[in-house]
């Protein structure tokens, strides 16, 4: 069915492909649809619900029928054959509904780009090209995006001329001119699929899909463009509209404009003998072009009793029979079209043999993006279609997208829209439109539905197999809203999103209800305009780049020494350092013993650190923390707790006073950013009179915790200039010293109860310090798991693990940290509420399972009875932390228990895997309750 010549295909090269197991050939420039039509393939797919044969219906992304599965080079489901550019080695098969997703990972690269412009022009047909040329000529930064591989739009499928040259040539020259300009970007194979607030639009560019297996691996296959435009011109063209009649889904029934495109652009005859069924002039051009190309056009069936006179005359000159005031009452054939029944009324009539039936019910402006932008749509009675109404954003339609259907009209409209969009930059000549011949236009009333007694084969939505009868069932059931009919029948919900069926559905519903489309309204247009692959949307945000991994300055050492890592927010923290043959339990017990009996070190760099500076810094911290900070002496350190206004614990950490007006606050790892925001919020909104500045220094410092009875000895060796004795360097003080030759700030604080030092150096020096500590050969590195065990043995809570936003400092057994003297602090007022002093509040306690080897799962609930009563079972609380302790020689847990501080010594039960495990409540401080070990 390939013509001898013509078309925008490269006949010098032959591409081989397979469809449903058969070998075919095509040429560069073909789509899979055009190559299959050239190969004589009529049935491309089978309908999803009724199993009816379906052929090529359109020549673009509005295709409802010819949906295929790509198998090679990489499986892709449900692509319209009309949008698949042909490549060598393509293997595809027909589909009956859903396709299959690849089971193997997609090896291709996908990426995304942000772009900005003064004017975004969507569509490079005559209107879009004219608009882009006008806007660029006015000096605007322009992006022109078009979904086809070459610019021209409708010009590619017609013999029309612009400025005296064939339309496609003009389009190519105009695009080339635009691409030569410094601030203009022409995007081919790019579909703008979403239009959001603030003129933010998203497009997908198909960059190497058309190369098949020859696509270079380093080039992103598809690219998502995130475009912010000051002004948008929508030159998205129009989709031809089908007519509902019996058998209108048979292979061989095709939109008239599509047939014309196959002839002109692809050099393919979509049939041998054609009937044209139309309600307007545009299908006459298709009929004449097909006749010129060698198709026998048996008849033009025009619903109008008075077709345009000049078009009618040209048809007759060509020897085409014109049946005015007639309709096609049925398309017939076994598997494909073989004859067309034509009559003056809705039923019966004369049979005409044909293998091709061209249909044109009129044209619908592609208003999807305009509607997505928030613009309203208006039903235009004269055009019989929806056109853009009021816009809500800086957007204007141009050309057919705005209801202008003649070529010179589109060129003029586009040029004017481009000049307007370029705004004050536009010079006097910017809007000068390219010229083309004015065609005859005749009145064309909207025509939707051929009346009949039986509507069961009048298809409205070809992809969803929805017929006029289905819609009548919906309206018969009492549905009155087109939105409801859509959901009831599924019309318009297939992956073509009803591009050809949407307005037809509205019209059939309106007809059934005896109202008009204008009154009925239409369904809502939503992004995406066409299906976009998840791979494209995910882009490079996969694998290691999916989410940032934050690491400390010591990370390389941890990796090199076999640490396993724990995720703490985005941080990777060493969890434990197993030696060969060790499991986690063994490694953690060993690390714990080292810290309690010898010396061990941990990377504590992830703690949040904030410099708080200013004459009112002490006052500020007094208000933030529950305890007094302003009384802290320079050179000293104090532990503190922050609460929310409701009195619940927000965060904890240490505060060190560096100078009279200078404090350094530490926060928990996960709350570093939150606490800084919290401070800024109070300073800016509640206490602007306080003279305080806060600056994050979390990553300025690397911090190493040196822990254990021998830590003093190790520190003394590394810092010979530092007096390290308990008398010279007391608990909760800090000193400046050179440690391993590096200027450091050393704090004597402990999160384990052992003698311990925290050594801070700039993060540049972190690895140096750590290596020097490890080079002593005395120090065992330990990770977060050991840290958790050590602190839990001492009953030190971890905010976010042992607290959950419903826990006060008193509940944690830390009444001592809440000042009774301070006039005010955040949360103070809440501590006078009856609720915060209830005796049955959940309080932090220790738990000892009666079986000392049994490890309670964290989260386990606690009950008071040895057998479970009928539900609802009274719950006393739950386990928040649970570990094996080397120091205690047994397992233990921390738990929040109702009235827990009064239950010490009680036996409770923990339901675990169907049995009730007896546990004894103890103080939350299980190890060294006298605090004898902190001085070593």
């Amino acid at each position: 069915m390939r013509r001898e010549n013509g078309g925008r295909i490269d006949r010098s090269r032959t591409l081989r492909f397979r469809f449903d197991g058969q070998e075919y050939t095509g040429h560069p420039g073909d789509t899979l649809a055009s190559a299959l039509l050239a190969g004589g393939v009529r049935q491309i797919a089978t309908s999803v619900k009724l199993g009816r044969p379906r052929g090529v219906f359109s020549a673009g992304s509005e295709e409802p029928n010819a949906v295929v599965q790509i198998e090679e080079p990489f499986p892709e489901p449900m692509l319209p054959a009309t949008t698949v550019e042909l490549y060598d080695g393509l293997v595809a098969r027909s589909l009956a509904g859903q396709g299959r997703l690849a089971t193997e990972p997609d090896p291709a690269r996908y990426d995304a780009v942000h772009a900005h412009c003064d004017v975004l022009v969507v569509g490079a047909g005559p209107a879009g090209l004219a608009a882009a040329r006008a806007a660029a000529g006015a000096g605007a930064r322009v992006i022109l995006a078009d979904e086809q591989p070459e610019p021209g739009g409708a010009l590619l499928g017609s013999p029309d001329e612009v400025d005296g040259v064939p339309g496609a040539e003009w389009a190519a020259a105009t695009a080339a001119h635009l691409e030569g300009l410094p601030d203009v970007r022409v995007l081919r194979r790019t579909t703008v699929f979403g239009y959001y607030d603030d003129n933010y639009l998203v497009a997908v560019e198909r960059r190497t899909n058309h190369l098949g297996a020859a696509a270079p691996a380093h080039v992103a296959r598809e690219r998502v463009w995130r475009i912010r435009a000051r002004q948008v011109v929508l030159a998205t063209g129009a989709h031809e509209r089908p007519i509902a009649f019996a058998g209108n889904d048979l292979p061989g029934v095709m939109l008239a404009g599509a047939a014309r495109t196959y002839v002109h652009r692809y050099g393919v005859l979509p049939g041998r003998r054609a009937v044209v069924f139309t309600a307007n002039d545009s299908a006459y051009a298709a009929a004449l072009d097909l006749a010129e190309a060698g198709v026998e056009v048996a008849a033009i069936v025009d619903v109008r009793t008075a077709p345009g006179e000049r078009w009618a005359a040209r048809a007759r000159e060509r020897g085409i029979e014109l049946l005015a005031g007639h309709v096609v009452t049925a398309a017939r054939g076994d598997g494909q079209l073989s004859s067309v029944l034509v009559g003056a009324t809705g039923d019966g009539g004369r049979s005409i043999d044909a293998d091709l039936l061209l249909v044109s019910g009129g044209w619908n402006p592609v208003v999807h993006l305009f509607s997505q932008s928030g613009g309203t749509l208006r039903y235009d009675e004269a055009l019989g279609t929806l056109v853009p109404g009021a816009s809500r954003q800086a957007v204007q339609p141009a050309g057919a997208a705005g209801g202008v259907f003649t070529l010179p009209g589109c060129l003029a409209d586009g040029a004017a829209a481009g000049a307007r969009a370029a705004g004050p930059h536009a010079g006097p000549h910017a809007a000068e439109a390219p010229r083309a011949a004015e065609p005859e236009a005749t009145n064309a009333p909207a025509y939707w539905l051929v009346p009949a007694n039986d509507y069961s084969a009048h298809f409205v939505d070809l992809q969803r197999d929805v017929t006029v009868a289905d819609i009548h069932r919906a309206t018969g059931a009492g549905l009155r809203s087109v939105e409801h009919v859509k959901r009831y029948t599924t019309a318009g919900t297939a992956h073509d999103q009803g591009k050809t069926s949407g307005l037809l559905t509205s019209a059939v519903v309106a007809h059934a209800l005896g109202t008009s489309v204008a009154e009925l309204g239409t369904t809502t247009f939503r992004a995406p305009y066409l299906p976009v692959s998840f791979a494209a949307l995910a882009g490079r945000d996969r694998g290691a780049l999916h989410d940032p991994v934050r690491v400390t300055a010591l990370h390389e050492w941890h990796v090199a020494h076999g640490a396993l890592f724990e995720n703490v927010g985005q941080w990777k923290r060493p969890w434990y350092y197993p030696r060969p043959g060790e499991d986690m339990e063994t490694a953690v017990l060993r690390e714990c013993r080292a810290a309690r009996e010898s010396v061990a070190a941990m990377d504590a760099s992830t703690l949040g650190k904030i410099d708080v500076i200013g004459p009112d810094a002490g006052e500020f911290l007094d208000r933030l923390y529950t305890n007094l900070m302003s009384s802290l002496k320079v050179g000293s350190v104090r532990y503190g707790v922050m609460c929310r206004p409701d009195g619940m614990v927000l965060d904890d950490g240490t505060v060190i006073r560096l100078a009279d007006d200078h404090f350094l606050v530490t926060t928990t790892t996960g709350n570093a950013a939150m606490v800084l925001d919290w401070m800024e919020e109070w300073l800016q909104t509640e206490w602007p009179s306080l003279r305080v500045h806060c600056t994050s220094v979390t990553e300025q410092w690397a911090t190493v915790a040196l822990v254990g009875p021998r830590s003093r000895e190790v520190l003394a060796g590394l810092a010979p200039g530092l007096a390290v004795s308990a008398a010279d360097f007391p608990f909760m003080t800090w000193r400046e010293a050179d440690v391993a030759g590096i200027p450091a700030r050393v704090c004597r604080i402990s999160f384990s109860g052992e003698l311990a030092f925290e050594i801070n150096v700039t993060s540049w020096d972190g690895l140096r310090l750590w290596t020097a500590i490890m080079d002593t050969g005395l120090v065992t590195p330990y990770g977060t798991e050991t840290m958790h065990v050590l602190r839990a043995e001492k009953g030190y809570p971890i905010v976010g693990q042992d607290t959950d936003g419903t826990v006060t400092p008193h509940d944690l057994g830390m009444s001592w940290v809440v000042s009774k003297k301070k006039p005010d602090f955040i949360g103070k007022r809440s501590f006078t509420r009856a609720d915060t002093s209830r005796a049955d509040r959940k309080q932090l306690v220790g738990l000892l399972p009666e079986d000392p080897g049994f490890l309670l799962p964290e989260g386990t609930h606690l009950v008071s009875t040895a057998t479970l009563p009928e539900p609802p079972v009274p719950m006393l609380g739950h386990v928040t932390s649970s570990y094996r302790s080397a120091a205690l020689g047994r397992t233990f847990a921390l738990a929040l228990v109702k009235g827990g501080q009064g239950r010490v010594g009680e036996r409770l039960y923990a339901p675990v895997a169907g049995t009730l495990v007896p546990v004894t409540v103890t103080s939350h401080v299980l190890y060294d309750p006298e605090g004898a070990r902190r001085d070593g």
Partner: protein
Amino acid sequence: MAERRSPAAAHADRFEAASRGEGLRLAELPFLTHVNVRVDPASPAAGDIADVLGAPLPEEPCTAVTAASDITVAWLGPDEWLVVAPEGYQPELLRKALGERHGSVVDVSAQRTTLLVAGPHARDLLAHGCALDLHPSVFGPGRCAQTTLARAQVVLLPRQDGFLVLVRSSFAAYMAEWLLDAATEYVT
């Protein structure tokens, strides 16, 4: 381990390899001095700090001023600036200029590291992950921005030949990996 180490040191070789073509230059500029300054811009202290810097503290949002001594002062907020100075610059000079007056001068040199993204494709590269308009007519020398690049917070400083990307030290490895991956199409 006798030497100090910059956050992207492990990526130096791959940055160099990616910079061999004409299109792109990637490098860490390690150990630059970064100082966070907070002070009332209308105060005499602000003027004294500016005198020491040799450049005024810019008051227009999202602008930066570069002094003759290769010191850049970037606006971070109505009372906050980031001073980017060569390695070895003494923050103490600014602390002295502030004196006992209200304000803060905090050495944050190791808080972030500085990555250079330069060459003809520098803007294309950053556009893969930065939502701002980086066109020289909008974001040329004299501007600055606190924004996100990919999924990391950065301070962006445009230069004649490209951009400085100031990224938190803990994010430096992620940022380096992201930049190298984004550069895939520009280095071959």
